[in-house]
Symmetry: C3
Subunit: 164 residues, 3 copies
């Protein structure tokens, strides 16, 4: 594992961190550049019902914008523990993550943990992007905030409105 | 801090990430190889009573299998903020982590944060393994899910049964 | 991105991890050395009211000691997903983090997620320190533990008393 290999690990992690930050901050245009044009995604969240599969950057972005784009939903993702294996211009990565979805108006909070199973590719421009993302859930809980009458939720700043 | 030092940090982190993933996914055989044969562990979780100490890889694995091996318990560990100091073929590491234990049938959820205080060793085969793991709790909470009637918990996939 | 650049990233991360660990373990004297003498901080936690701004290491430490120094409050911070850009002897860093504040005697738990927006500087002694820290909240919740009668909270070890 030489300096070039270590630098590649760093570039791949940056792509993933940027993707996660853009999801939580709803920065869809910036997020687009973290995915390959033909990227695929599988979101296996029980709260959404069956596993949802998307093919192509545009389809993934449409789903994220439509599901998370409004200011009624706050998401937070914390991912770590990367186990990344590089093979030339492609790589695989496993990450643990915790996430939370807060739909305050619907009095709903979803909390979960999972392992991402990703694939990455280096493009002709030298930039690493996510070619596939999916995850294996450890658990997921859903609850109504009405069960905790004292609970107050603030978002700061308010989530922006979707910009389709 | 040259490339060799940076690569060693990466190898040690990978050992830790693999250990944590194998605990949460109950992959006991794979987990065994992340520990030195004479590894020691101290789990100071208030919910388990006094600090539990184990000597030797087999004793640690027996404890983990017996305590977490069934499909009735889900655990999730997220560790980060590594402060790793290397001294030849040994190293020490401090990590912050959050963990959660869900025993849905017993209506119990345990949540906590702590700092790992680990020791690592490089074996004759060149592989870094965990020689000691222990932690210092910041807090731990235990609660019954019956206090939140709306709470639903799903695990996906269901945890495998223990394979002693 | 050569080995020197990668080593600098590592040094900056270590400064941040040390700062976070010292906050949660209330090690104020050790924390002081993670900040530049003229460091600034902006803590925009809704639970504290308006954004609180501090100028200079001493002012930041006074605030942290006074707010978190007693043994009645437990904090835990988990930060990750670092996006660090280096420009000579200065650097910027964005991090995602989750935090929790438990004031058990006041039956209060505050939970939140945010993105740190930090600035770092390398001193004449070659050590990287935090020159500015601030954050952008994704959400923050406050609740009374009285709503969950079964909840038990233990801290281990007990938080030390403040040492002003």
């Amino acid at each position: 594992m030489d300096a070039t290999h270590l630098a590649t690990l760093e570039h791949i992690k940056r792509a993933k961190y940027r993707y996660l930050r853009c999801v939580d901050l709803k920065r869809w245009d910036e997020l687009a550049d973290t995915l390959t044009p033909d990227a695929t995604a599988e979101y296996g969240t029980p709260a959404l019902g069956k596993t949802l599969s998307f093919t192509g950057r545009d389809e993934i972005l449409d789903f994220l914008r439509n599901t998370l784009g409004g200011d009624a939903i706050v998401t937070t993702h914390s991912a770590g523990q990367p186990e990344i294996d590089i093979d030339g211009d492609t790589a695989t990565g496993t990450w643990h993550f915790d996430d939370k979805v807060i739909a305050a108006e619907h009095h709903t909070v979803i909390t979960g943990s999972a392992f991402y199973e990703d694939r990455y590719e280096r493009g002709d421009d030298g930039t690493w992007r996510i070619a596939h993302t999916g995850y294996l859930r450890l658990y997921e809980t859903t609850m109504s905030t009405k069960d905790i009458p004292s609970l107050t939720i603030t978002t700061n700043p308010p989530a922006p409105t979707a910009t389709h």
